[in-house]
């Protein structure tokens, strides 16, 4: 899957927030794949559109909304290249 990303504003020096824009909307299948590959998934179905949060190993956090093309990934300062690389490798495979 093709994607773009850009760094977005954050308050904390120990993490960096990136917004990813995908070529198509986020589906429940994609959410499950990301959750399964990256860490533990929490899925909040009761909101107007389901919100998901993935807590990855190494401190990476992913949050987004089903149906949107964008999601956010928060990478801790330690292990940022690895976490970012792992996420982007999965996206490229899809």
């Amino acid at each position: 899957m093709r994607f773009r990303n850009k760094k977005v504003e954050g308050c904390f020096d120990y993490s960096a927030i990136y917004e990813y824009r995908l070529e198509k909307p986020i589906t429940v299948t994609l959410i499950r794949i990301l959750g399964g590959r990256l860490g533990s998934l929490q899925y909040f179905a009761d909101l107007p559109r389901p919100f998901f949060r993935i807590q990855g190993q190494g401190g990476t956090q992913i949050r987004g909304i089903q149906g949107e093309r964008d999601f956010q990934a928060v990478f801790p300062s330690r292990g940022r290249p690895e976490g970012k690389g792992a996420l982007e490798a999965i996206l490229r495979e899809l």
Partner: protein
């Protein structure tokens, strides 16, 4: 993002929206108008900068418009004030834990470059300055400068500035008020508050354009210019002219923006905010958030319409993200550029979610926000 008409904008403590009605047109007109150099063409041009200065001076109780230095922001104004004072090694600057980085970072620079001492007065759990500790520090030390943020941008707590600055003046200190979060909402009178300098911004509760702000400087305070350059007058001098406000205003001013600020100030004067209504909305929001299960930092007595909270089980940035994406509610999350206050509020290290209302916020919007926040807790 939902379309603009469906946005609920609760980030007015960062920058206000909507602005004063008609501001867009005024800015466009000012930009398209032939720029006549006021100082050179005499009565052929209106002195737009002086017009804006006079309105601000009137608002702050300054006796002369020349006491108002026009700046691009309150950050700019605070830098002019703090870095322009003749502070030396060992001098004490007393500030409070609820200061914004626009004060903290210039102070850290002063400590690094000039070996100035800094002490911070703690706050209580709602962000109000601990006056007992403040008095204790004043008894044991004699600050050269006392800096106080009039209203916390995190909790909305308005500080007892008259009392704080009265005590500071008894100790011979120069007083600097950061009115970024208060001007346009509460009375800010230099004499009444005993403020020697007042920094303000035009784009928050004055409803003016971004890129506007200023510094009131009382005649007793002499500031060294932080920036130097062309002034259009006294070009023969090797240093900046001594007269105010020219001394602190090198470079071409952003006149269209100050024309816009003047428009906003006139509009506000003719259409004063219904403070009771705004307080009522704040109270309703606070109660609604509490009922939804939020940990609200409830500020008793004097406050601005900025309200901070956290939601159990949710990171503050997630709350902001969901409110924006799912409900079209724009707010601010995190430390709000005021890192020292959070340990006192019990919100370190992640900070808070902040809703900041304006005179244009409606009860319907507040009810939508309460409902949306409640959905996160259900």
């Amino acid at each position: 993002m939902p379309e603009q008409s469906r946005v609920i904008y609760l980030n007015n403590a960062a920058t206000s929206w909507p602005k004063a009605p008609g501001l867009g047109r005024v800015l466009a007109d000012a930009t398209e108008h032939v720029p006549l150099p006021t100082g050179r063409v005499g009565y052929a041009a209106k002195d737009q900068a002086r017009d804006c200065r006079a309105l601000v001076a009137d608002m702050l109780g300054a006796s002369r418009p020349e006491q108002i230095v026009l700046c691009e922001s309150s950050t700019h104004a605070l830098n002019l004030a703090l870095l322009g004072l003749p502070l030396r090694r060992g001098d004490l600057v007393l500030a409070t834990a609820q200061e914004h980085n626009s004060v903290l970072r210039p102070l850290y620079r002063l400590r690094r470059l000039r070996r100035v001492r800094i002490r911070f007065v703690p706050t209580d759990r709602v962000g109000r300055v601990d006056t007992e500790e403040y008095r204790r520090i004043l008894r044991q030390d004699a600050p050269r400068v006392v800096v106080v943020n009039h209203a916390s941008n995190v909790t909305g707590a308005v500080q007892p500035v008259k009392e704080l600055f009265g005590l500071a003046k008894e100790r011979g200190a120069t007083t600097l008020l950061d009115a970024s979060q208060s001007l346009g909402l509460v009375s800010v009178n230099a004499q009444d508050l005993r403020a020697d300098m007042i920094a303000f911004t035009g784009h928050k509760y004055l409803l003016g354009p971004v890129g506007t702000g200023g510094l009131y400087v009382c005649p007793d305070v002499q500031l060294d210019p932080v920036l130097v350059g062309g002034t259009g007058e006294r070009s023969d001098l090797k240093d900046m002219p001594t007269e105010m406000p020219l001394r602190l205003e090198p470079g071409t001013p952003n006149l269209p923006a100050f024309v816009g600020l003047a428009h906003a100030l006139r509009w506000q004067r003719e259409n004063p905010t219904d403070q009771d209504s705004l307080r009522g909305l704040c109270a309703r929001l606070e109660q609604g958030l509490r009922d939804a299960g939020a940990n609200v930092i409830g500020v008793p007595d004097a406050r601005t319409p900025a309200l901070s909270f956290t939601l159990p089980g949710w990171d503050v940035e997630e709350v902001g993200y969901i409110l924006q994406k799912e409900f079209g509610i724009l707010c601010r999350c995190g430390l709000h550029c005021a890192p020292l206050i959070h340990p006192y509020l019990g919100t370190a290290p992640r900070g808070t979610v902040r809703f900041s209302l304006s005179r244009f916020t409606t009860l319907d919007e507040v009810e939508c926000v309460i409902d949306a926040t409640g959905r996160l807790m259900s």
